[in-house]
Amino acid sequence: MLKILKYSFYDLIRSRWSYVYFAFYLLLGIVLLFLNNDLSKAVITLMNVIIVLVPLIGTIFGVMYYYNSKEFTELLLAQPLKRSSIFLGQYLGVALSLSMSLILGLGIPFVFYGLFESSAIWDFSLLLITGTFLTLIFTALAFNIALSNENKIKGFGYAILLWLFLAVIYDGLFLMTLIMFEDYPLDKVSLVGTMLNPIDLSRTLILLKLDISALLGYTGAVFKEFFGTNFGLIVSFTMLIVWVILPVLRIVFKSKRKDF
């Protein structure tokens, strides 16, 4: 598995897209800091970008990589290798190279700007951690979609739909539910609702760290009490880890039974 991981990783590192992705974040970081002059403000803007863009890139890139390297995968399958290690290796290769582009691309300008002396370092690390988690989650979901769909167009379609659902439609449904049941106590519901969507979960985690919690009023108090404590933090990170593990397990399961 490590060998395949290494191979996929180096293959991706040499590819143009990784550089474009890396350069994009680098540019974003530099421009934000240049325009803003304020680290914590820049972190908020970055959060807006990360929670939308990272899942999108993760899904598209994952699906694309799977379909593109299909012939190579078939070649590998002919070798005496475990199926799970082939697919997990490829998955980790993609996810890690994307995470690396994200971390380095954003990290370099911020480090040069004096992140280590700033108090925003924890917010920023949280941002990078959630960004990495989102990459891991959405690449795994993308591999699932690609494994289940032979048809490329269909695969891409589902991938986009998945992203659209979690990034936009879910929030819409969530909002409608909250408005429809406004006569009932909703703080528990909203807490569960946020936990079930990794994008919402990451957003709430970062927002609460940035002390926007006071805006949330009474609901905020419930949220702050939950996410502000170590227990809440552990639960939300466990939730993110579960979000990674479940799709990865399905990759292993699916790949074992798939007829190539």
């Binding site: 969530f174 406004e182 909703l186 703080d187 927002l207 926007i212 006071a214 949330l216 949220f223």
Partner: protein, 411 residues
């Protein structure tokens, strides 16, 4: 030679019979303030030397000037009220008063002024207090340069820093109040001036008005109080050049206006408050040249607010600029600078060519269902805000700034 003696004797006699000076110190013939007040005649000066005086229930019933040298300590030993002024023309200066008694039936104060005129209370330091300076049914007084440091923990068993009750024409300047219930509290008090005070870290309000008209407060700083400044049921109040900042918490705001009419709010700075101004049932108020910076809500209108005008203010980086809970709008927004404005200015006259709508759909939704705020900064919310901006359905369609400024307004 004899003549000179006579002359000196006469001068001495005159002096002693007019403005006599009584000294109080731990080793003097008069070793307590109470004795000194009994001995003193009208318009005498009592000088209190450095030391600790364990006294309470000191009643000043004649026009005296009491001056502390090097801050003598008057220790009430938590037994009750410490100084009560019931005469006109009293001056109290430079004392350090501590340990006021706490009671659930009486409002014990460090220093109370009752039915007096022309008093001056200055340079006092009050600590460990219940109520600080309590002025009732008095007028034409001055409260200058006092420092009041409480240790209030709970609202129900703590008092206010400076409290005015049925008192008119009082000047309160350069005081510093912290850690009490309400920093400065005015009830039924008209024509007062509150200037250059700092009120911080108080449990409830930095400044609190109730049924008080024609007052002015200016150049004060209100910082990190439970809920900033509350102005309620009052008319014609001028609020000028104050700073409201860091009143941050789930139920905090910079300024709360309730049933306020004909007020002027000019030149204030609201920074990092959860809600900068919360308005309810307030009419004909002029908001001009205020800065709203980094607040959660800059202005939250709860309803029944008519004919207010918001002119030439700066709204900078607030999560919500204006929040409204109804579709009816009778307030004017004109020539403000909005940092969220995305329009253009083709004719370069400094005024945006497209009107700005400060009320977002999301703020309307949040007003209806507060829990929805957890979707703040979600992409879906941005999309619905955008569509509402293009064609307003839920937000009042005449609520807009027709002449949004392109540059930050300076004055």
């Amino acid at each position: 030679m004899n003549k000179l003696f006579v002359f000196l004797a006469v001068i001495l006699l005159v002096q002693t019979s007019y403005a006599q000076n009584i000294e109080v110190c731990n080793t003097c013939p008069t070793s307590s303030l109470k004795d000194a007040i009994i001995q003193a005649k009208d318009f005498d000066t009592i000088t209190v030397k450095k030391g600790t005086y364990k006294e309470y229930d000191i009643i000043i019933d004649k026009p005296l000037t009491i001056i502390g040298e090097d801050y003598p300590v008057i220790d009430g030993e938590l037994k009750g009220e410490i100084i009560t002024i019931i005469s006109d023309n009293v001056t109290v200066d430079g004392l350090f008063i501590i340990n006021v008694g706490t009671s659930y039936t009486e409002d014990y104060a460090a220093i109370r002024v009752r039915k007096s005129k022309n008093f001056v209370i200055q340079n006092l330091v009050l600590e460990k207090l219940f109520f600080g300076i309590y002025i009732e049914k008095s007028s034409y007084g001055k409260v200058y340069h006092n420092k009041i440091i409480g240790d209030a923990v709970e609202e129900y068993n703590s008092g206010n820093g400076i409290q005015l009750w049925y008192s008119n024409h009082i000047k309160i300047e350069h005081n510093y109040v912290e850690h009490v219930r309400d920093g400065i509290y005015l009830e039924f008090s008209d024509d007062c001036l509150i200037k250059n005070n700092v009120s911080a870290e108080n449990l409830r309000y930095g400044l609190h008005f109730m049924f008080s008209n024609d007052d002015v407060y200016q150049d004060n700083t209100f910082e990190n109080n439970g809920a900033g400044v509350a102005v309620m049921f009052s008319k014609k109040i001028k609020m000028l050049n104050n700073i409201f900042k860091e009143n941050w918490g789930t139920a905090s705001y910079g300024m709360l206006l309730k049933e306020i009419n004909d007020a002027e709010i000019i030149g204030n700075t609201f920074e990092e408050n959860t809600i900068a101004i919360n308005i309810e049932g307030s009419n004909r108020i002029v908001y001009k040249n205020n800065n709203f910076v980094n607040n959660g809500w800059a202005i939250k209108v709860r309803g029944a607010c008519y004919t207010n005008s918001f002119v030439e203010n700066n709204f900078l980086y607030n999560s919500f600029d204006i929040s409204y809970n109804s579709k009816i709008n009778d307030n004017v927004f004109d020539r403000n600078y909005w940092s969220n404005y995305t329009g253009y200015d083709l004719d370069k006259d400094g005024v945006g060519d497209v009107p700005y709508r400060p009320v977002k759909l999301f703020s309307y939704i949040v007003n209806r269902t507060p829990e929805t705020i957890i979707l703040l900064r979600s992409m879906f919310i941005d999309i619905i805000d955008f569509s509402e901006k293009v064609s307003p359905v839920f937000t009042p369609d005449n609520l807009m700034d027709n002449n949004p400024s392109i540059k930050k307004i300076t004055w």
